[in-house]
C-alpha cells in the first residue's frame, strides 16, 4: 500500500509542477474569478432597482408661473425639489446639463381654468437610463396630480369619482427583503459549481489526452508503476487546481459581499463567512467527481482537441439540475441528494436560506460524489490498460 501511495505522490508532484508552469492551467484556474464581477454587477442592478421607488428627484421647471398650484403641489411631495429650468430646455437636456425639464406652456392656466385638458411637456432624452427613470417619476407624480384634480371636479359636479374609474389595479408586492436577497444570490451556487468544472479542467485534459498526443504516455506506462498511482496522481493534481480555484473564488466573493455597499443600498444579504465556507465545503467533494469525470472523458477522446470539446460539453451538465430546481424551489425530495450537482445545489440553497445544517444530507451528497469519483478513477485506470486507448485508434 505504501509503494502505490508513494508513487502517486511522485506523479502528483510532477503534474502540479507541470501545471504551475502551464499558462493555460493557471488561466483555467483563474477564469471563474473573472465571472465574479458579473455577479456583482447583477447585484448592484437589483439593489438600484429597489432604490428607484423612493428616488429623490430635482425638477427643473420652465414657466412655473403658469401652473403655480401644480408646482406648489409637486414641491410638497417627498423627495422632490423644484428649481428654475434653463432658458433653452432642449439644448440643456441634449447637452446633459439637466436630466429633464418640465415645461409649462403659456396657455396652461387658461385651459386649466376652463376645465380643458391642459398640457405640460417633459423634455427628456429617454436613451439616458437614469434621466428616463427620473422623468418617469415626475410623470407619475403629475398624473397623480391630474387624478386628484379630476376627482375634485367630478365631486363639484355631483359625480362620484368612482364612475370614471371602473377598474382599479392594485399590486400587492409580497417580495420580502429576504427573497430579494435570495434572488441576488441565485446564481452564486451556479458560479461556485462552475468554478470546479473549470478550475482543474486544463490539467485533466493535458495529463491524459495531452500526454498521449505528445507521445510520452507510452514511456510512462512502461514503468513498473501501478496504473491507479498514475491515474490517482494526475487526478489529485487536477483536484488541487480545482480546489484552489474554488477557494480563491470563495474568498473573493466574501470580500465583495463584505466590502461592497450593497447593505447600504438596501439589499440585505444574510450571508457571511460561515455561509460561504459552508457552500465551499458542499462543493469540495463534487470537485473530486467532476475532475475524475473530466479525466475519464479526456482519456476516451481520440485527440487533444476532441478531449477539449467533450470536456466543454460536460460544463452543460449543471444546467439540467438548475432547470429542474426552478420548478421546485423550496422543498426537495430525498432522491435529489443522490444526484450529483443537484444534491449540492439543494444543500447550497438550504444554506443561503438559513436552514439548519443537516449532517446526514451533507454526508449523502458527499458520499455519492466520492463514490462516483472512485468509479471514474477505476474506469480511467482500466482505460490506461487498453491498447486502443494507449496507442490511439
Amino acid at each position: 500500500m505504501t509503494r502505490p501511495l508513494a508513487l502517486l505522490g511522485v506523479v502528483l508532484r510532477k503534474e502540479i509542477l507541470d501545471g504551475l508552469r502551464d499558462r493555460r492551467s493557471i488561466i483555467s484556474a483563474l477564469v471563474p474569478l473573472a465571472l465574479l464581477p458579473l455577479m456583482v454587477f447583477y447585484m448592484f442592478q437589483l439593489a438600484s432597482d429597489r432604490m428607484e421607488r423612493d428616488r429623490e428627484i430635482t425638477v427643473p421647471v420652465v414657466g412655473a408661473e403658469h401652473a403655480q398650484a401644480l408646482i406648489d403641489w409637486l414641491a410638497q411631495q417627498s423627495g422632490v425639489e423644484i428649481m428654475p429650468g434653463p432658458s433653452q430646455p432642449r439644448r440643456a437636456v441634449s447637452e446633459g446639463s439637466v436630466k429633464f425639464v418640465l415645461v409649462v406652456p403659456d396657455d396652461f392656466g387658461q385651459r386649466f381654468a376652463r376645465s380643458k385638458t391642459a398640457e405640460v411637456q417633459i423634455v427628456v432624452d429617454s436613451s439616458d437610463e437614469s434621466a428616463e427613470r427620473a422623468a418617469r417619476r415626475a410623470r407619475s407624480l403629475i398624473q397623480g396630480y391630474g387624478q386628484l384634480i379630476a376627482s375634485q371636479r367630478l365631486i363639484v359636479r355631483g359625480v362620484s369619482p368612482e364612475v370614471v374609474r371602473p377598474v382599479q389595479v392594485e399590486t400587492v408586492d409580497l417580495e420580502t427583503e429576504q427573497e430579494r436577497a435570495a434572488k441576488a444570490l441565485a446564481f452564486m451556487p451556479m458560479l461556485l459549481v462552475m468554478t470546479i468544472f473549470i478550475g482543474g479542467l486544463q490539467i485533466a485534459i493535458d495529463s491524459t489526452a495531452g500526454e498521449r498526443e505528445r507521445g510520452s504516455l507510452e514511456r510512462l506506462l512502461a514503468n513498473s508503476v501501478p496504473r491507479i498511482s498514475i491515474v490517482g496522481g494526475k487526478w489529485l493534481a487536477s483536484v488541487a487546481f480545482s480546489w484552489a480555484s474554488l477557494a480563491l473564488t470563495g474568498v473573493l466573493l466574501l470580500l465583495i459581499l463584505e466590502r461592497s455597499p450593497l447593505r447600504e443600498m438596501g439589499l440585505r444579504l444574510d450571508i457571511g463567512p460561515r455561509e460561504i465556507a459552508g457552500i465551499v465545503l458542499v462543493v469540495l467533494p463534487l470537485a473530486l467527481l467532476v475532475t475524475a469525470l473530466q479525466m475519464a472523458v479526456a482519456t476516451l477522446a481520440r485527440s487533444y482537441k476532441e478531449a477539449q470539446s467533450y470536456v466543454s460539453f460536460l460544463m452543460l451538465l449543471p444546467v439540467a439540475p438548475m432547470v429542474l430546481m426552478m420548478d421546485t424551489p423550496a422543498e426537495y425530495a430525498l432522491w435529489q441528494l443522490f444526484v450529483p450537482v443537484l444534491g449540492q445545489f439543494n444543500l447550497i440553497n438550504d444554506l443561503i436560506e438559513g436552514a439548519a445544517f443537516e449532517p446526514l444530507s451533507y454526508a449523502i451528497a458527499a458520499s455519492v460524489a466520492i463514490a462516483g469519483a472512485i468509479g471514474m478513477l477505476l474506469l480511467t485506470a482500466r482505460l490506461f490498460r487498453s491498447e486502443k486507448i494507449v496507442f490511439g485508434r
Binding site: L7, K14, E211, R219, N223, S224
Partner: protein, 243 residues
C-alpha cells in the same frame, strides 16, 4: 535475459506478429531487424507489457509478463517508439521523475541523473525546458529516463531513428557500454549498418514472422552472401515482404 516464445498478435484482420520466438542473452546486443511494418514495435511492446499477445509467452529474467507485468517492467528500461517529452520540464527533471517512479531515493536519483547527463553528453540541455528540443535531444532525454534505474534488460525501439551522426555515435557507445556491463539489450532497426555496427545476434522479421536468427556470420554463411544488406534483402524478399 528476455525469452519470447511463439507470440502472436492480430489487429482486426491484420496479423501483426505471427509465432515470433527468440531469446536475447545477457551481455549481448540482439537486433530485431526488419522493414517498416514487419511487427518489430508490436513485438517490443509485448515485452514491456503494453500489448498483450493473443498467444505465446514473454519472459523477462524468467518472469512471465502476462502474469506479473509490473515485476517484468521493473527489470526493464524502455526507449519507446514515441519520444515525447514534457515541454515544461527540464531534461534533468525528466530523468529525476522517472528515477522517482522507479522508486529511487532522492540522493541516488540525483547521482544517477548526473552520471547519465555526463554519459549522454547532455550537459548543455540538462537544465533547459524540453520545449523545442531536437529529435536527438529528445531521444537522449528518453534514453536517460529509461536507464536511470539501471535495468538489467534494455529495450530500444529504433534508437537512432532521425538522429545526426554525433547522437548516433553516443547511442552506439551507450549500447556497447550496456553490453560490457552484462546487460541484455534488444533493439529494433530497419537500418543494416546500424545493426552491423553493434549487434551480436540478429533476428530478421518480415510480415510478422521470424525469417532468420543468428550471428551476422551465421546469417552470411546460411545465405552464402557477403554483405549483410544482401542477406537482409534476400531473406525478406523470399518471405514475400516489401521490397
Amino acid at each position: 535475459m528476455i525469452e519470447i516464445r511463439g507470440i502472436c498478435k492480430r489487429f482486426g484482420e491484420i496479423i501483426a506478429v505471427d509465432q515470433v520466438s527468440f531469446q536475447a542473452e545477457n551481455g549481448s546486443v540482439t537486433a530485431l531487424l526488419g522493414p517498416n511494418g514487419a511487427g518489430k514495435t508490436t513485438t517490443l511492446r509485448t515485452i514491456y507489457g503494453l500489448i498483450q499477445p493473443d498467444g505465446g509467452h514473454v519472459l523477462v529474467d524468467g518472469i512471465d509478463v502476462a502474469e506479473d507485468p509490473s515485476g517484468a517492467q521493473a527489470r526493464l528500461g524502455v526507449l519507446s517508439e514515441s519520444r515525447g517529452v514534457y515541454p515544461r520540464l527540464t531534461a534533468r527533471e525528466h530523468v529525476r521523475y522517472f528515477a522517482n517512479l522507479q522508486g529511487l531515493r532522492r540522493r541516488e536519483a540525483d547521482t544517477r541523473c548526473s552520471a547519465l547527463v555526463d554519459l549522454l553528453d547532455m550537459t548543455d540541455i540538462a537544465d533547459r525546458r524540453a520545449e523545442g528540443f531536437s529529435q536527438g535531444e529528445r531521444t537522449k532525454v528518453a534514453l536517460a529516463c529509461a536507464l536511470v534505474h539501471g535495468p538489467q534488460n534494455v529495450i530500444l525501439d529504433e534508437p537512432t531513428n532521425g538522429l545526426d551522426v554525433m547522437s548516433t555515435r553516443a547511442i552506439r557507445s551507450m549500447t556497447r557500454a550496456l553490453r560490457e556491463e552484462g546487460r541484455c539489450v534488444v533493439f529494433s532497426s530497419h537500418v543494416m549498418q546500424e545493426v552491423a555496427a553493434v549487434c551480436d545476434s540478429i533476428v530478421i522479421v518480415s510480415s510478422g514472422r521470424v525469417v532468420a536468427h543468428g550471428t551476422p556470420d551465421e546469417l552470411r554463411a546460411a545465405t552464402g552472401l557477403e554483405s549483410l544488406e544482401d542477406v537482409f534483402v534476400a531473406l525478406t524478399r523470399s518471405e514475400g515482404g516489401p521490397e
